[in-house]
Structure formats: structure tokens, C-alpha cells
């Protein structure tokens, strides 16, 4: 009977083998998982090519690309020069960063008094996360929110305990706007936080915030909207208070696109422009510049062309900010440089 069970399993597997199709495997960032699973589903129906994407985290994605265990990777924080050099040595090819969509990080909070739409400035935000501002009715916060009555309550900071692209975007912003943060804490996918409690994943942070009166933290925009959390408007570089939204994020990307480097490894936090939301960033697919496998190379190139054009139309309904047209065009050019055997 034991043998029968194994035999049964074996039959299952040969059943599947008989209609094998081209399947490409990718792994990486958690943030774009929802959009990518939509894209790959639509694309499979269109062309029959299966793209299997698994969200193992940005760090994991970069690692797998370096080791060559996947056909493509994905990350929210760009690969650094050391990692690119390592990939070049191990895989014998350059790795391209192709931006796909944009994500925003929102500052979310919980006050039992149900005060919505609090306004924050970069200085105040940095001071809160440095542990310098500890009360909700601190003068610096009251100054920005004169129309509201803020309670005399301690501020409880909540941050991510795991390595994450969301953290990267958030601390990258704090580094740009606050010198003390830049020197004392720095940036990375996980940093040593001066104050606060840790939560695992967006859901962990949101869960902590929901339970603690007076808590403040940061999560992805999509997560905050889906879970109806209160979030703050941020003062941008031009001095306007901007509520995070898909439009204000795409606007930030558009305003920064003039500075887009050819390898797309760019940070757009603290963007120029009067309507730009300041805490946002790209998420990238990581692909080889030279493919050895003709079928896979061709399939991936065709997919990327589709993604940065038609694919962008699926972004908004899933709460991702689509690329500005100008950036899509830049991507097109980069995708054309990918080579594979037999490419004309």
C-alpha cells in the first residue's frame, strides 16, 4: 500500500510532464507580488508562457540572481556595486534593473480620538523616529496641525523587524532630510532603530499599531488603503503637504525622471515638484543582459516589452503607481539591449 501511494504520486507527476510548457522562474520582492501574479496570469492566457514568481523578499531575490538559481529576480532596493560585480563574476553577465511600478510608504498612526489626516514635516518625522519627540502634543506637531486637538500621549514608534524594501525607502528618505539620521542610523533594508517596537511584515507593523493607542509606523500604501488605516500627509521638498496617492507618487517619479541614470538605480525620495509625495520608490525586475538560453531570453524580452506598456494598465486597480510614460520609454530602450542567441 505504501508502494501504491508512491506509485500514485509518480503517476501524478508523469501526467503533468506530458504537457510541459516553457516555464520561467523568478523570485524576490514581496511588495510587487500581487501585481506580478496578475501580470503573469494575464500573460500566460495571452501567450501560454508561464512565469512563476515567488515572493521570498528583496534580499533573497538579489541572492538568487547572484547564484543564478532563477531566470529573473525582483527587488525594491537596487543591487549595490559589490553585488553587481559578484553577479558578473559568477554569472558572466551584467544584471539590468528594469523598473516596473512605484510604491509609496505611508506614515500610519493610531490615536483613539480618531484624528484623521495629520500633517507631518520631514524634520518632525525624523525626530519622532530618533526618539527626540515623544509626545503627540509636542509643540512641533501642534504647530503643523493647528486645526486639531492633539492628546497628551506618548508616541510609540513601530518599525519593521525584518529586512524589507519598504524600510529601505523609508530610511532612505530620512537620510536625505535629516543629517543626524544620516550619520547615526544610515540606510539599508534593516537598520538599528534608535527607538521603537518591531513588527514582522506590513501586517505585523499594522497589527501593532492597531493595538497601541498613540502608535506611529510605516507601511506600504496598498496595505494602508486596504486595511483603512489613518495615514499622514507629508510636507514635500516644495513645502506642500501631500496626501499619499497613486497620482502623487507617479508625479514624484515624473518630476525625478530627468535625473534618471542609464542603469535605473535611482532613489526618488524627497522628489522635486509641488505635487510630489516624498516617500516613494521604484521596484525593479532583475534580468541578465546576456541570455544563454534562446527560448527563455526571447520570452523574457517580449514579456518586459509587454509589462512596461500594456502591463502598466493593471497597476492602478491593484494600488500600485504606474510608471510615467517617459520612464516606460527609457525602459523600452534598455530592454532592447538584452541579448540572446539568435537575436537579430
Amino acid at each position: 500500500m505504501k508502494k501504491n501511494l508512491i506509485f500514485l504520486a509518480a503517476t501524478f507527476l508523469f501526467m503533468q510532464c506530458s504537457f510541459a510548457q516553457l516555464q520561467l522562474n523568478g523570485a524576490g520582492a514581496t511588495f510587487p507580488y500581487v501585481l506580478y501574479s496578475k501580470w503573469f496570469d494575464v500573460y500566460q492566457k495571452k501567450t501560454g508562457i508561464q512565469f512563476n514568481y515567488q515572493s521570498i523578499g528583496s534580499g533573497g531575490g538579489i541572492k538568487q540572481v547572484i547564484e543564478g538559481t532563477v531566470d529573473f529576480g525582483a527587488t525594491d532596493g537596487p543591487m549595490n556595486d559589490t553585488q553587481l560585480a559578484e553577479a558578473k563574476t559568477k554569472q558572466g553577465t551584467d544584471i539590468l534593473h528594469i523598473p516596473t511600478v512605484l510604491g509609496a510608504v505611508v506614515v500610519t498612526y493610531n490615536l483613539k480620538e480618531n484624528i484623521s489626516d495629520i500633517k507631518l514635516s520631514p524634520e518632525v518625522l525624523a525626530k519622532i523616529f530618533l526618539g527626540k519627540i515623544t509626545k503627540w502634543n509636542d509643540n512641533a506637531i501642534v504647530e503643523l496641525n493647528k486645526d486639531k486637538v492633539l492628546p497628551n500621549k506618548p508616541i510609540v514608534v513601530v518599525h519593521r523587524s525584518d529586512g524589507s524594501g519598504t524600510t529601505y525607502i523609508f530610511v532612505d528618505y530620512l537620510c536625505k532630510v535629516n543629517e543626524e539620521w544620516n550619520t547615526k542610523v544610515g540606510k539599508g533594508t534593516s537598520v538599528s532603530w534608535p527607538v521603537g517596537l518591531g513588527g514582522k511584515g506590513n501586517e505585523g507593523v499594522a497589527g501593532q499599531i492597531k493595538q497601541i493607542d498613540g502608535a506611529i509606523g510605516y507601511v506600504e500604501l496598498a496595505y494602508a488603503v486596504k486595511n483603512k488605516l489613518n495615514y499622514a500627509s507629508m510636507k514635500n521638498k516644495a513645502g506642500n503637504f501631500i496626501k499619499p496617492s497613486l497620482e502623487s507618487v507617479t508625479t514624484a517619479a515624473l518630476n525625478e525622471s530627468k535625473n534618471m541614470p542609464s542603469d535605473f538605480r535611482v532613489s526618488i525620495t524627497n522628489a522635486d515638484g509641488k505635487d510630489s509625495y516624498p516617500i516613494s520608490g521604484y521596484t525593479w525586475l532583475l534580468v541578465r543582459k546576456e541570455f544563454k538560453d534562446e527560448k527563455k531570453g526571447k520570452a523574457l524580452v517580449e514579456f518586459l516589452h509587454w509589462a512596461v506598456n500594456d502591463g502598466e494598465n493593471y497597476a492602478a486597480e491593484l494600488l500600485y503607481a504606474p510608471l510615467p510614460k517617459k520612464v516606460s520609454e527609457l525602459c523600452e530602450k534598455a530592454i532592447k539591449t538584452i541579448s540572446y542567441p539568435g537575436k537579430k
Binding site: 505504501k2 501504491n4 503533468q16 507580488y33 496578475k38 521570498i56 532563477v70
Partner: protein, 281 residues
């Protein structure tokens, strides 16, 4: 005075009896709660599609986890291919021939292996199989699960074989049956029921593991194309869907958990039934 002692001892007995009964109740309450919670939340997402369809992206209703159900069965099957022979034979060695230093070392190492966190086993399988093969695969997942199963199977096999009475072995040998035949057809046959229990325990553990699969079998939103490619599993889907902010995915995660429990239960029953005979208890 005699009367007092009589009642004192009688009530003490009743008191301890009730205490034990309540402890037993407390021990099964979490299990009942888990059953209740999983069934009440999971049943809603269970329908025919769940068993026959591939996963759908967010925003599209329907879709199932058929590939994950098959994937879990295949992964556990592959795990058994590695874990059963190695585990059972190591158990036989330890019980029948392992009363020496080498046996003690093996016994100790198997216990250490049993205590290793499953994520460590996953990392081992990653560096042993995934990196040399250059891609994630069902084989790598099978190796990870197989390694996990070995210690449980080994130790239960050894313990069960030790309970087979000495006289059985002596009787067989006295009849002129060779040592290997005695071990295989007398000792092992007698102990079959217990060994099956050990195997089922290890299968249940392997089927419920997420950590060793994350970096070995990865996961797959489609049917696997072959065994040297990534394959879906219920546990990784539960893990991915459970933490997502989308209601239909969370519902499917609960349904997946329910199916996983049912699958293990069915498998256990089937194996119990298949190995039930007059020799085993």
C-alpha cells in the same frame, strides 16, 4: 479515626482523579479550537474549483490550489523515498546491531538531527541540491523533507523493534531461519504497526513544514513542468496568502490549512487500514 483516614484517602483520590481528567481536557482543548477555527474559516472557500483549478490573481474570484495539493503529495512522496528506507534501516541497525560505540554515536547524532530547526535543514538542502543544480526543484524539497523524516522514523523503529520479545527471535533462529530473514520477516513483521505509526508521524510533520521548502521547492503558481523545476506546496501557499492584505487570499489560506489537515488525516487512516493485519497490534 479509621473512618477519617478512609474518607481522607477516598477524597484525595477523587481530587487527583478530577485533576488528571481536567489536565487531559486542557491538553485537547487547543486541538479542538484549531479544528473549530480552521473548519469555520476554511469551509467557505472550499468548493470543487479549489481542488481542480490553478490559483487566480487578486481581484478574480474562484481559482483553487489544485497544483499545491498535488505538489504537497509529490514532495512528501519524494521525502518518503529518501526518508523511509534510510530511517527504517537505521532503526533496524540500532535495535539489532547497534549495541556498541558506533551505535551510540549514530543514536546521538540522530537525536541532534531531530532537534535541528527545519529552516536549517532547508538551507542544507539549498546548498546541497539547489546551488549545484542551478535551480530550485521538487527534488531539493524532497531531500529537505526526507532529511526531516529520518530521525523520527529511525527512533520509533528502534524503540518498537526493542519491544519485540527476544523469544520470537530465538524461536526463528532455532528453526534454522537465517538472521536476515528473521529480522525481515519475523521482527519487522511483528513491529509493523509501530513502524507505521512512526512513519505517519514523520509524514504529518513533513507535510506541515513550510520553512524547508521556501528555499528548495520554492513554490509555483502553475503546474510543475518536471521534478527538477519549482513545485507548489500547500504550506508555502498558506504562508504567502495568510500574510496578504486580500480577503479572498486569506480565505484560501484557511481552506488550504483545512485541506492539509484533512489530507494528513486521510493518509494516516489509509496507511493504518492498509497495514492492519493479525500480526500487528
Amino acid at each position: 479515626m479509621k473512618n477519617f483516614y478512609y474518607y481522607y484517602r477516598k477524597y484525595k483520590s477523587i481530587f487527583i482523579y478530577i485533576l488528571c481528567g481536567m489536565s487531559a481536557l486542557i491538553a485537547i482543548i487547543p486541538l479542538l479550537l484549531i479544528f473549530y477555527h480552521t473548519i469555520s474559516l476554511g469551509i467557505a472557500a472550499i468548493n470543487w474549483d479549489f481542488f481542480t483549478q490553478l490559483p487566480k490573481p487578486v481581484g478574480e474570484s474562484g481559482g483553487g490550489l489544485a497544483n499545491a495539493i498535488v505538489g504537497t503529495l509529490i514532495l512528501v512522496g519524494l521525502g518518503c523515498l529518501l526518508g523511509l528506507p534510510v530511517g527504517i534501516m537505521t532503526g533496524i541497525y540500532l535495535a539489532e546491531f547497534g549495541k556498541n560505540t558506533f551505535g551510540n554515536i549514530v543514536r546521538f547524532l540522530v537525536d541532534v538531527l531531530n532537534g535541528l530547526p527545519s529552516i536549517v535543514i532547508g538551507v542544507v538542502a539549498y546548498s546541497l541540491v539547489v546551488i549545484p543544480m542551478k535551480h530550485f526543484s521538487a527534488y531539493a524539497g524532497g531531500v529537505a523533507l526526507g532529511l526531516l523524516m529520518i530521525p523520527t522514523i529511525t527512533r520509533t523503529t528502534e524503540e518498537i523493534l526493542k519491544t519485540v520479545p527476544r523469544s520470537y527471535r530465538e524461536a526463528a533462529l532455532a528453526l534454522g531461519i537465517t538472521q536476515w530473514k528473521t529480522t525481515l520477516f519475523v521482527v519487522l513483521r511483528t513491529a509493523l504497526g509501530g513502524i507505521v505509526t512512526g512513519v505517519m508521524l514523520s509524514i504529518a510533520r513533513a507535510a506541515g513544514e513550510t520553512a524547508p521548502l521556501l528555499f528548495t521547492a520554492l513554490n509555483n503558481r502553475f503546474w510543475h513542468t518536471s521534478l527538477d523545476q519549482p513545485i507548489a506546496s500547500l504550506t508555502v501557499f498558506i504562508y504567502n496568502y495568510g500574510v496578504s492584505p486580500f480577503e479572498d487570499w486569506i480565505a484560501q489560506a484557511w481552506a488550504g490549512a483545512l485541506v492539509l489537515i484533512a489530507l494528513i488525516l486521510l493518509l494516516s487512516l489509509a496507511m493504518r487500514f492498509a497495514t492492519r493485519d493479525k500480526y500487528s497490534g
